[in-house]
Amino acid sequence: MAVDAATGVGIRARRASWLRYFSFSTDHKVIGVQYMAMSFVFLLLGIVLAMLIRAELAAPGVGVVNARLYNGIVTLHGTVMIFLWLIPALVGLANYIVPLMIGAEDMAFPRLNALSFWLFLVAGLLIVLGFVFGPAEAGWTAYAPLSTLGPAGQSFWIIGLIVNGFSSILGAINFVTTVVTMRAPGLTFWKLPLFVWSILAMTVLIFMGTPVLTAGLFMQLFDRSLGTVFFSPSGGGDPILWQHLFWFYSHPAVYIMVLPGMGALSEVIPVFARKPIFGYKMIAWSSIAISVLGLLVWAHHMFTTGVAPAILFPMMITSMIIAVPTGVKVFSWLATMWGGKLTLQTPLWFCIGFISNFLFAGMTGVMQASIPLDVHFQDTYFLVAHLHYALFGAGVFGAFAGIYYWFPKITGRMYNETFGRIHFVLVFIAFNITYMPMFWLGVNGMPRRVADYVPEFATANLIISISGFVLGFSFLIFLVNFFMSWAWGPKAPDNPWGALSLEWTLPSPPPQHNFAGRKIVVRYPYDFGTPAPGSGHQSSPPDGAGG
């Protein structure tokens, strides 16, 4: 399809199209790009902080930064990467894509959507600026009572996260309402693209978990500024209560960061394998299962606290059971690729990287779900490795799979494939060299969040630091590709990958009101492939398939 002159895309002045990203827009596409652009700004900050951590840890002894700065950097790195980079990047991507995928003109509440973004921006600035007023130095987990005692930046951190919480809750309400009420006529739940299923599961988690964290943050703020003693034993409070409130949100946060990537994989793999997704309904159900189980596992972060086994042991079992739905996803993706005709381009490479890294996150995740094993792993570099395999190896790789895949739709330009592959190779190799040795470090006695360590860990840490610098550099390749291609890349056709979901029926980039004035033809989005021998051509998954 050629560029649609009637909608004005072809003739819109480029200057104006850039400027609208700096305005208070209620267009979900503009807001989506705003989210993603801001998240990349915060990503750069998070990378600089990570490089400082690795510089400090390159050799034993305290040298590059002092202990206060180090704890502040560790805290800000975790907070920025989770709350200001990965979640907003994924929310931004979903903001752009989900309404297009379901044939909607916009989100259900466009102004609320804009408010979510601007609240997120305020939250980000509060968290980052707080660093100047004496950095928050209790880690991104902010365990009381250490966090109650910390400097003023801790209060900025708390208020920032409260504001961010409101942004998340409003966004989640918006997404759930949009998916439930704004689907195009004929687009039933069992014809929804799996990306939409995973975003639905993700936003349900945000909606359930964030209010609990926000309440806990208020209590911590009151402990700091009003003299309450919710978490202080000296006044009859309980430091463990904070851990319950915190992890009730923050463990689901892991799935919040991984589910959208899983959704992206379920889109990219069938398109690049030219095969229907294998077990559509089982993948959709597994997202829901992860979402429900994800709310019932939080105490597995508290196996060493001395909380009663009556709480810990059932949560150990639920944590282990999560391996089942995640396993279903991995096996289904492999089965989708099996017998396909794989076009090995950047989005698919990132899917393959996701599966490979996620396998390690999953295996070590089951090990850490086992209480006796976790007692040794808890709070060590084993955990640091595990969480980076989950959040970076899976979450970020999934985000990149989605970003490369939808880049032509969002920008109207093709990215540079060679640069994309170099980016993948570099980030995949450097990622594994950086985080693999951390498993060993943790088991052999290196706790997390230390600025100094014993000399026997020097070699491993030096290797990690060097590889970490390469890993940080690899993001620059992506950014160069991103900006160069957006400015000068070849014009993207409407449907460069030959995909079947609705967003690809629109011009690239889509016109302002998406499908306004167009006829929406709903079809099963994974209807790829030549008919199997001996069976009729199926336009939707047979009822028996994974039902």
């Binding site: 130095e137 294998f278 077990g279 709480i311 086992s370 006796p372 094993l373 007692v375 600025a451």
Partner: protein, 364 residues
């Protein structure tokens, strides 16, 4: 039929390779990956580790192997067009790859429970199953019952103190335990959350303010092992380490008897000796270098030659007042180039102890 037999043989071979390979990975990781195993409990841990890693090894070989095979076998050749085969699913296959992981995690849960029953005090009785091992901190004042050695682990920013309630409550900044004996730890914290970790024991327990937590172990090998704080506890977290010495019953008895008599003589002796004992007991050396007691802490200023400097530090403040204020409200005077990392000792020392510590420090 011939193809069928070949297929079955092929699948059987791959399955055999995955199972044996997984077991091999489990055995090798068990040898290469883990630090020395010292206690009865760590030996059980290592068995569970070996079992779990063997299964993980099988999953690893299966998934990464399939991924590699798919990449090699099914990538699009140059000039190749067309789609893959339109297979939407396979119910029996999907049931298999849901059930097998479910069985694996069920087995792992039972095995974990079995290990927990032996290693964790919380699994000893129905009461502790439902209420947990945590008791209010005042429980430490109660007399110790039972024949096992009890050690009270007191943590504070940024040091460990080990008290022996069955031996006049004497205390030490290093932990000594006899080999081949059950030891019960009662852990608590004076300020923020710390976590007591001995990697060679596979033992970690949080030490919480306001609570007493419990852990137990039985060491099988003599040696010196690190005690590490695993929970971020403030600016000196990296330095919060000490030594755990497992020694023969005879050596342990000799050590504890000499500690008891030292403590008695320090209490009756001159304040300087008492101050020296306090310095060691409170773990001041975690942050301060002091050659007299052989500590090398770097977070705070060195105290070598302190007595000569203390008087001139703040104009109008005598050396004695300077030390007293620094112990009670450490942030009052910060030496240039150092952080306000030190906790207050105002509530932890009575007047006589404070005085003794001051006298000792002024003699350095």
């Amino acid at each position: 039929m011939k193809t069928n037999i070949r297929q079955v043989a092929c699948i059987a071979l791959v399955a055999l390779f995955i199972i044996l390979g997984g077991i091999l990975i489990g055995l090798k990781m068990y040898q290469w990956f883990l630090p020395e195993s010292v206690t009865v409990e760590s030996a059980m841990y290592d068995q569970l580790f070996r079992f779990t890693v063997s299964i993980a090894g099988m999953v690893f070989l299966l998934v990464e192997g399939t991924l590699l095979y798919v990449l090699i076998r099914f990538h699009r050749r140059p000039g190749e067009t067309g789609d893959g085969v339109a297979i939407h699913g396979n119910t029996s296959l999907e049931i298999v790859w849901t059930l097998i992981p479910a069985i694996i995690v069920t087995v792992l849960s039972f095995y974990s429970y079995d290990v927990l029953k032996s290693v964790d005090v919380a699994y000893d009785s129905a009461a502790s199953w439902f209420c947990g091992p945590l008791t209010p901190a005042k429980a430490l004042a109660e007399p110790v019952s039972g024949g096992n050695l009890v050690i009270d682990v007191i943590s504070r920013q940024f040091s460990w103190e080990f008290k022996y309630p069955q031996y006049n409550n004497v205390s030490s900044s290093e932990m000594h335990v006899p080999v081949d004996e059950f030891v019960l730890l009662r852990l608590t914290s004076e300020d923020v959350i710390h976590s007591f970790w001995v990697p060679q024991f596979r033992l970690k327990k949080d030490s919480l303010p306001g609570y007493v937590n419990e852990a137990r172990f039985e060491a099988k090998n003599e040696g010196t092992y690190p005690v590490i704080c695993a929970e971020l506890c403030g600016l000196g977290h990296s330095e919060m380490r000490t030594a755990l010495i497992v020694e023969s019953k005879e050596k342990f008895d000799a050590w504890i008897q000499s500690l008891v008599s030292q403590t008695e003589s320090a209490q009756t002796g001159d304040p300087v000796a008492q101050g020296r004992a306090l310095f060691a007991r409170l773990g001041c050396g975690a942050c301060h270098t002091l050659s007299d007691v052989g500590t090398e802490g770097q977070l705070g200023p060195s105290l070598d030659g302190f007595g000569a400097r203390a008087g001139g530090r703040i104009p109008g403040v005598s050396a004695e007042d300077y030390v007293k204020t620094s112990l009670r409200t450490p942030n009052a005077y910060i030496v240039a180039g150092f952080l306000d990392a030190m906790p207050s000792f105002a509530d932890r020392l009575d007047d006589a102890e404070l005085n003794a510590l001051v006298q000792y420090l002024l003699q350095q």
